[in-house]
């Protein structure tokens, strides 16, 4: 629909003056009068309005008098104009609005006593506010409840047909899963085509429903809103770090709600560029693991080969004694630690301090090693800023977005809403480079369906195209003529023929993509799992940096190279120094000045940098007996890494394996001591999201069983090891971090780093660029001929890591089908139907697995969700370790598929 001038950065809205209730107000010409009125703080009731979408104009509540008009006008659809004289109050308007409320009430069953929305209902509020006392027209529509959806129940007796659910779904989320349908004489909201609802299940429709017409299946009839304790916190699933409200009753999480709600329908539309306040299916319906009965209640210790419950005191003493013993016997480097990036910043900081100071080893790593570290290291190398360069607002307002190797809708749903906003409101051109027909590819203006694994080649093609089409930003390249000359020379060796052959993309499409990106005033590259978790990830990111540099996008406001993270605090893990190569603040461990600073602050000697080890190196040292003790916080390498990594052997050879987790994971089953940790809902702290915003998490409920927050356990262990830490709460740790890293906690505002390629382009660039632009197409073609299928492991929208599989709500939506996702045409060709068993053969072995058709799959590719290990598809994957960053690549391989 028509753009509001206020949300269109291309249009300078004319400032105007108008009078509202005798007060002069300034506004932009042409915006909704309702928005102008609400911006003055006046609240005119409106039932179908929400600032996140275009006015629908159906409820007839937002009436105001405009001078010169005989009858009241609906302010939401009226446009503000210069000199307008508006009255928003008065008995006539009150009566008119009352009539509108009566009409809404006339089709409502008034079943408030059993309604989930009782006390949190706009219709109740409006009836009360307008003194509607005649309820004689209340109507029982006797529509049977629609319970066909997996997560939402539609009680259309209560529906007032405001259309907010439909509009938020269509306008904001671009899913368009709901519609009105006249059934049984009543206008009802149904899923498209009156089918069972099948959508992204973000639940934003539930959030904006002002009455109890849409209800949450997992909490229906369980509560009255006023009984719930509402805690605002940060979601711990993906790197988006959405703010949300965990609502608890006693020791039970009843529901999770979003800031997006009919309750806050007033706002500035342009502010939605920073996020519209919604959350996704994982946040909203994936909360049940928190109070799951499977949670660990007590520490466990291995006695006679069995894990039995033990008191905390005994467990911690045992851990401390055995660690001290191993350290005394074999030295500190016989001990290593792994931590999950779902821990808070404070805990990650404390973890590395525990490892480096209390134990004295640099053998520590976090789950950022699975991919994000590639981006951090590459960005550090190229521009000196080890994180995403852009925030959500940049992304929303970009004119061109180059999305490389990302199924954004599924991995980071709310970041993808920003891209959708960019497409819908700001008319951005979106180029998606991927080998699957993902949701975001379908919405994009330029979907580039490359052959599996050829994203890097496509990027090289873009660089070549920019140079050959002369789309370079001469100002940017002229500063580094030597570097540019080397790049030109490297690129000249590549031929477009081989690039188009390898990617399967026609040359003019490559040229078009290059010119769209190069010519856009605000252009962002977003690379994700298809780059950072696939072979040569580090180098591919550097090639993307090349592209950004030669088109002049480095350092220009609103431009940059950005990534998304799979776990909430991957950025925080690197920032806090939970990686062997970094001290807190991403200070290189080899940097003498930084070492001095931290050694002084911590009052201890720091371990030698060269003895550090990354995840795979740690496992290798476990296997060869160098490492005797492993301390694992929330990580589950056994279930994550393929069999070829031989994690099991590594764990079995240990003298001491300590696992600290919410659940008894596959890895924890091998542990000597298992320590029950708290979930994010039971502790305080902060997360750093993919924008670099530091976001608070707040304790919503008492710890489950005897579980303790990770920071508490680590403090106890450190103290036991003679490193006295007197942290009484995460705030104490926070204070220490603040001192060491001034400005890190920045009240939730994203810090805009200033990327500076100077160091990189003036120094080491020339040496490494040649190696990066080596043609690799022949090798690719050879593998493709031998093993024609590309097998990829990846994320589903409904899951995050292994954690979400503990949430019954998400398992209801997306259970493990145990089937390989394939292209329907491939299945037809091989004579397969849904459920047919095939034999998948890779270099690592073979496996019989059922198949299912998936519309997103392109011919020649297949996919298995990485959240599930049954059947163990992951064990078919080879592991390749990045020579620069030590990232283990195991999400992608070639395979043959035969019908069994």
């Amino acid at each position: 629909m028509g753009l509001k001038p206020a949300t269109n950065p291309e249009v300078e809205a004319k400032p105007i003056e108008l009078t509202i209730d005798g007060r002069s107000v300034s506004a932009s010409d042409g915006v909704s009068l309702y928005d102008v009125i609400s911006s003055t703080g006046k609240i005119v009731p409106a039932m179908c309005y929400h600032y996140t979408f275009d006015p629908f104009g159906s409820c007839g509540m937002c009436l105001v008098m405009v001078e010169g008009k005989k009858a009241p006008v609906r302010s939401c659809t009226a446009k503000a104009a210069a000199g307008m004289i508006v009255r928003t109050e008065g008995d006539d308007l009150f009566q008119a609005r009352k009539k509108a409320v009566e009409k809404h009430l006339s089709v409502h069953p008034l079943d408030c006593p059993v309604c989930d929305a009782d006390g949190h209902c706009e219709l109740q509020d409006m009836a009360f506010q307008h003194q509607v006392t005649n309820l004689a027209n209340a109507k029982q529509k006797l529509i049977p409840e629609d319970t066909r959806s997996l997560v939402l129940d539609f009680n259309m007796n209560r529906c007032i047909a405001c259309g907010e659910c439909i509009n938020v779904c269509k306008d904001v989320l671009m899913i368009d899963a709901l519609q009105f349908m006249k059934k049984g004489g009543f206008n009802q909201v149904v899923a498209k085509g009156d089918q069972p609802l099948s959508c992204e299940f973000c639940g934003d429709c539930l959030a904006v429903c002002p009455v109890g017409a849409i209800t949450n299946k997992f909490s229906k009839y369980l509560y009255k809103p006023w009984q719930l304790k509402k805690t605002t916190t940060t979601c711990n699933y993906c790197g988006d770090g959405c703010q949300m409200h965990v609502e608890t009753k006693d020791r039970e999480v009843v529901r999770v709600t979003s800031p997006l709600s009919w309750k806050n329908k007033w706002g500035d539309r342009s502010e939605t560029a920073k996020g519209h306040g919604g959350i996704c299916v994982r946040g909203r319906f994936g909360f049940e693991y928190i109070d799951s009965t499977a949670r660990l209640q007590q520490p466990l210790m291995r006695r006679d080969g069995k894990l039995v419950e033990a008191p905390w005191l005994e467990a911690v003493h045992s851990v401390v004694d055995r660690l001290a013993d191993i350290k005394a016997k074999h030295g500190p480097d016989a001990i290593a630690g792994l931590i999950t990036a779902r821990c808070t910043n404070e805990e990650l900081y404390l973890f590395q301090k525990l490892m480096r100071v209390a134990i004295g080893t640099n053998q520590l790593d976090s789950s950022a090693r699975y991919g994000h570290i590639n981006f951090v290291r590459a960005a550090q190398q190229a521009v000196g800023v080890g994180r995403a360069m852009n925030d959500w607002e940049d992304l929303t307002k970009a004119k061109a977005i180059l999305l490389v190797g990302s199924n954004l809708t599924e991995t980071n749903p709310l970041t993808s809403v920003r891209v959708k906003d960019a497409i819908r409101i700001y008319k951005a051109q979106v180029i998606v480079v991927d080998s699957a027909q993902t949701n975001i590819a379908r919405l994009a203006s330029h979907p580039m369906m490359v052959k599996p694994g050829s994203e890097g080649v496509f990027v090289q093609g873009l660089v070549k195209s920019v140079i050959e089409q002369d789309l370079i930003d001469t100002e940017a390249t002229a500063k580094y003529p030597k570097a540019f000359a080397v790049l030109q020379e490297a690129v000249a060796k590549l031929s477009f023929e081989s690039i188009t052959a390898a990617t399967g993309i026609a040359l003019d499409q490559i040229h078009e993509a290059a010119s769209i990106f190069a010519e856009a005033p605000r252009a962002i590259i977003l690379c994700a799992e298809g780059v950072v978790r696939r072979p040569a990830g580090y180098e591919k990111i550097l090639s993307l940096m090349d592209l950004a540099w030669i088109t002049g996008k480095l350092g220009r406001p609103g431009c940059g190279v950005t990534t998304v993270t799979e776990e909430i605090n991957e950025q925080g893990a690197v920032d806090m120094g939970a990686a062997p190569e970094f001290l807190p603040g991403q200070a290189p461990i080899t940097d003498a000045a930084a070492r001095d600073r931290f050694a002084k602050a911590w009052g201890a000697e720091l371990p030698a940098p060269e003895k550090g080890a990354t995840l795979t190196e740690i496992l290798k040292r476990c296997r060869n007996g160098q490492i005797k003790a492993l301390y694992i916080v929330g990580e589950n390498p056994l279930a994550t890494l393929p069999k070829s990594m031989d994690v099991q052997a590594a764990l079995k050879g240990l003298d001491l394996l300590v696992c600290q987790d919410l659940f008894l994971t596959e890895t924890a089953r091998f542990a000597h001591v298992v320590l029950p940790a708290c979930s994010y809902a039971e502790k305080e702290g902060t997360f750093t999201n993919l924008e670099g915003k530091v976001l608070r998490i707040r304790q919503a409920m008492d710890p489950v069983g005897e579980s303790l927050p990770d920071w508490h356990i680590m403090t106890a262990i450190a103290s036991g090891l003679g490193c006295q830490l007197d942290y009484e709460s995460p705030h104490d740790i926070q204070r220490e971090i603040m001192k060491l890293l001034p400005g890190y906690y920045n009240l939730g505002q994203p810090r805009k780093p200033a990327p500076d390629p100077n160091k990189y382009l003036s120094n080491g660039y020339s040496a490494e660029v040649k190696a990066r632009y080596q043609p690799q197409m022949e090798a690719m073609a050879a593998t493709q001929a031998a093993k024609p299928f590309a097998l990829a492991l990846g994320q589903l929208l409904y899951h995050s890591g292994k954690l979400s599989t503990q949430a019954p709500g998400l398992i209801t939506i997306a259970p493990n089908t145990g089937r390989l996702h394939m292209n329907a045409k491939d299945m037809e060709r091989l004579g397969l139907t849904d459920g047919t068993k095939v034999r998948v053969t890779t270099a690592q072995g073979k496996l019989d697995v059922g198949v299912q058709a998936d519309l997103a799959m392109l011919p020649g590719s297949c996919f298995f969700p990485e959240h599930f290990n049954e059947p163990p598809v992951k064990d078919l994957m080879a592991v390749e370790i990045d020579r620069h960053t030590g990232v283990p690549y195991f999400k992608f391989t070639s395979a043959t598929i035969q019908k069994v």
């Binding site: 629909m1 104009g57 009539k99 009409k103 519609q179």
Partner: protein, 436 residues
Amino acid sequence: MPPFEKILLKNMETPGYTGSLADYERGGGYQALRKVLGKIPPAEITETVKKSGLRGRGGAGFPTGVKWGFLPKDYQGPKYLCCNADESEPGTFKDRQLIERDPHQMIEGMLLACYAIGVETAYIYIRGEFVLGAQILERALAEARMAGYVGQNILGARTSINIWVHRGAGAYICGEETALLESLEGKRGLPRVKPPFPATHGLYNKPTVVNNVETLANLPHIINRGAEWFAAIGSPPKSSGTRIFCVSGHVKRPGNFEVPMGTTLRELIFEHAGGMRSDKPLKAIIPGGASAPFFTPEHLGVKLDFESVAQAGSMLGSGGVTVMEEGTNMVWAALRLMEFFYHESCGKCTPCREGSSWLVQTMRRIVDGRGRNSDLETLVELCQNIAGRTVCAFGDAEVAPIMSTLKYWRHEYEELIQQAAMSAPAELMMPVMGKH
């Protein structure tokens, strides 16, 4: 006064006229297209239409040339023309005749409009029930395509115009232009909020013109005979040209009558339509389709042009003139119309959706002899809170029958209620909470 020469119905009233391409061409058909194509710049045609004073025949009477002028100039990318053939206003059946009897006339009109506004793709959104009309149009379009009037490079010129027929699914609201566009896009036909108007954000969000069948059918004649000729017909300057009035109800000779605008109601009913059916006195007239407020015999002298009818308190609308004789129960008549509107309310806006159901309930109660004294007040209040509170003009239209019957025949309502009070037992009162 010289005998009036029909314009739109002229062809089809020629004996033996079948509506085929050959027949149409024989009567000078497609000459206008040949005259302009590649010879007269499109902007000049828009000017001619503006000068002719042609106003929309769908109901609102918006000047056609001005509407065309609202399309963004130099717009790159597709633009669309939609011919609104979703004629579903009760009492209106003129477009149906134009479509079924002389399809090429409107097709030529569409081609001229497309040429004038630079459109390459045009749609005819035809009412679902017009099965025959759709078949005839398809056949006519096939003929026109064969003859090179429609399709790529029409008549060898560089202009390409494609016309497609799209059948509606039976919703009255899809005659509203934005609901029509939604429906054409494959969605449920709900009106859009205006502005933005279709001229800038229409079909698939692209600039779009929506014109009525009768409006388009006038175009070939305007091009052939000049703007001045057309502007002089009827009651210039505001209401030029002819109108086809669809006379129905208690008259001797119901049917479509093409007369110059400005003809009085008396002449239309008593001369063209042959007067009252059973020679009872006239009681009520709806002058412009079901959404137009009622007239009484006092209004027989009103001239049928946009301004005069509006001045007299109704609207010329779609040209559906429904005549009712003495003895008609006006409350019942209003209820019948109201039931239609209740059934057809699309359900988007609460005032209309719930208001119409409430109105029907109340009206039915009165007609069934269960009326209450407070009901008349309820009716007025409800009507006042529907009109102007909805996204489209449906809300204004649906209250017209009740408001105007209440204005002229309030005593009939009161009598019904009085009888109810005398005969019916005291009704059980619904519980009322708190202060009333």
